[in-house]
């Protein structure tokens, strides 16, 4: 399956894109998405290693299955406030 991943801040700049598409096997987890993202975009490695992921605007840990329908976002370490 193909999923679209939203990118922000430093990750957006490193990738040069507000979102990227990643090809995953059906039933892939957030952990596998993280690895595939780094495999496809080596320049994201330093940020994506520490990033969180959100599915449908909710934080998910690496064991959660990626849903094709929901919005998927890569959340590099935050610095609001």
């Amino acid at each position: 399956m193909k999923v679209i991943v939203k990118l922000f801040a430093g990750a957006r700049e490193l990738a040069g894109a507000e979102e990227v598409s990643v090809e995953l096997t059906a039933g892939a987890t957030v952990g596998q998405l993280r690895e595939q993202l780094i495999a496809n975009y080596a320049q994201l490695r330093p940020l994506v290693g520490h990033a969180m992921f959100a599915i449908g605007a909710v934080y998910c840990d690496d064991s959660v299955e990626v849903s094709e329908q929901a919005e998927i976002a890569c959340i590099p370490p935050v610095s609001g406030g």
Binding site: F8, A9, G10, A54, P77, G81
Partner: protein
């Protein structure tokens, strides 16, 4: 009351929003762009958010604070875009019958906001360079 805005933060409005005749204590926290960070001069900060999720996370924080402390009112505003030196990027106002709850909830809200809400700042230094701030998690960090 949660607000994410590209306009300057209106702290007076925030204080009015948490006004209550049941509140003996109100605490307002304002975070602003500071001129100097670790010896380097900042001209302005630029803030970006994953807006739909940031709004939802701030609402979750408000609800969590209300479960944990007996608050009367709670209002949070975060600014996006360019925030020049001296201007506010975030303001949090909480009111409660007694001051313990207002101080503790205000402190917890800003600490937790900085850890969990998908908002990022870019430092724009006086020397013309700029960089996104992505704090590396370190066990000893406060």
């Amino acid at each position: 009351m949660i607000e994410i805005t590209k306009s300057p933060i209106d702290t007076v409005k925030l204080l009015e929003q948490v006004q209550s005749s049941e509140a003996g204590a109100t605490v307002l926290f304002v975070g602003a762009t500071r001129r100097v960070t670790e010896g380097r001069e900042t001209v302005r900060l630029h803030y970006e958010a994953y807006e739909t999720m940031a709004t939802a996370e701030l609402q979750r924080l408000e609800q969590a604070a209300r479960r944990r402390w007996p608050l009367e009112q709670c209002a949070i505003s975060h600014r996006l875009g360019t925030v020049p030196v001296g201007e506010a990027s975030v303001a949090i106002a909480v009111s409660s019958a007694h001051r313990d709850a207002a101080f503790e909830a205000g402190r917890w809200l800003i600490d937790t906001l900085k850890q969990s809400v998908p908002i990022w700042k870019q430092e724009q230094w006086a020397d013309g360079s700029s960089e996104w701030v992505h704090p590396t998690p370190s066990p000893g960090k406060k």
